[in-house]
Amino acid sequence: MSNEWPLWEIFIRGQHGMSHRHVGSLHAPDAETAIRNGRDVYTRRNEGVSIWAVESAHIAASAPGDKGPYYDPSDSKIYRHPTFFDIPDEVGSM
């Protein structure tokens, strides 16, 4: 498999968005080409104003098996949600 180009994760900042969002992945031999490929594959319909490319191998991910210990404990801590405040109408949507 050494002849395969590495996989890159592509993040795009949309015209109206505030942050880059993951849009998908692609193959490319180097970072510059990954960005060009990102442009060609993911911004054909005017989706973006900025592209980040990160080699997939450099992304550290949590293990699916850790789901219980990681996330279940917060289920019972409803007081962490800011839902106990009265929001004045003038504030609008938050």
């Binding site: 180009w5 692609l26 060009r36």
Partner: protein, 252 residues
């Protein structure tokens, strides 16, 4: 030659270059070496078709005989086409396609840059729109030429062969004729030869980085600008024009 006749011919040259190259590049659709390149080539072809609509649309307007961009694209025969011989060259392998693209892109970027200052506002407006696309095409094709030229032994060999095969067809871009003279005089388009030095420098820099050697002076294959084409154009047109020829006026 009157200024309008010259402008009509010049617009046909620009529009036919992008039309024929677009058709060539579109032939890769579904056949690209990798998915990403396949999509990128299709994007390039679509950009070029968009430019064709503008150039040939204006050509029809200047001619004043009521011919639309579609009429000019689909209802002319080979001897009425004014594209450079370079763009009708067969696709060959992916390296050949990208080398042809690179040689053309470098010229197109320079030409459009000059045309943005054209004395004809319509020409300047189209040039400005197209120049952004051309700049991206050039970035991409130079990157590929460098990557493959300075790649493996096999990719280097293929790129060098592509360069030598296409080089004699690059000279036509800089050979001016009466059309170019009339328009240069009128301040509408640059003198064809005036782009040569900058083009050679631009192309030379990329080829050096690609570790490819620039072929020596070669016989310049020319004729396309005045309608004398290679045998390849007829096949391109047969495929491209078949539908409109067989079913005149068909639309969907």
């Amino acid at each position: 030659m009157g200024r309008n006749d010259a402008l009509f011919q010049f617009l046909l040259r620009l529009g036919d270059n992008t039309l024929i190259l677009s058709h060539r590049v579109s032939q890769w659709c579904g056949h690209g070496p990798v998915l990403e390149e396949d999509i990128a080539l299709a994007n390039t072809a679509l950009d070029l078709i968009g430019q064709t609509q503008l150039w040939l649309g204006l050509a029809g307007e200047i001619e004043g005989n009521g011919r639309s961009a579609d009429d000019l694209a689909y209802l002319r025969d080979a001897w009425d086409f004014r594209n450079l011989l370079l763009v009708e060259r067969p696709n060959g392998d992916f390296g050949q396609t990208m080398m042809r693209q690179f040689l053309f892109d470098a010229w197109q970027v320079l030409m459009l840059e000059r045309l943005m200052g054209s004395g004809d506002a319509r020409v300047a407006a189209i040039a400005e729109k197209a120049s952004k696309e051309a700049a991206y095409h050039l970035e991409r094709s130079s990157g590929t030429v460098i990557g493959l030229g300075d790649g493996t032994e096999e990719s280097h060999r293929r790129m060098q062969a592509a360069l030598e095969d296409l080089w004699p067809y690059s000279g036509e871009m800089f050979v001016g004729d009466e059309v170019d003279e009339v328009l240069a005089q009128a301040g509408i388009a640059p003198d064809a030869g005036s782009l040569k030095e900058e083009w050679e420098q631009m192309v030379g820099n990329v080829l050096a980085e690609a570790t490819l050697s620039v072929p020596g002076a070669a016989y310049v294959q020319k004729g396309g600008k005045s309608g004398v084409h290679t045998e390849h154009l007829g096949f391109v047109l047969a495929e491209m024009q078949f539908l409109q020829r067989a079913y005149p006026g068909a639309s969907w």
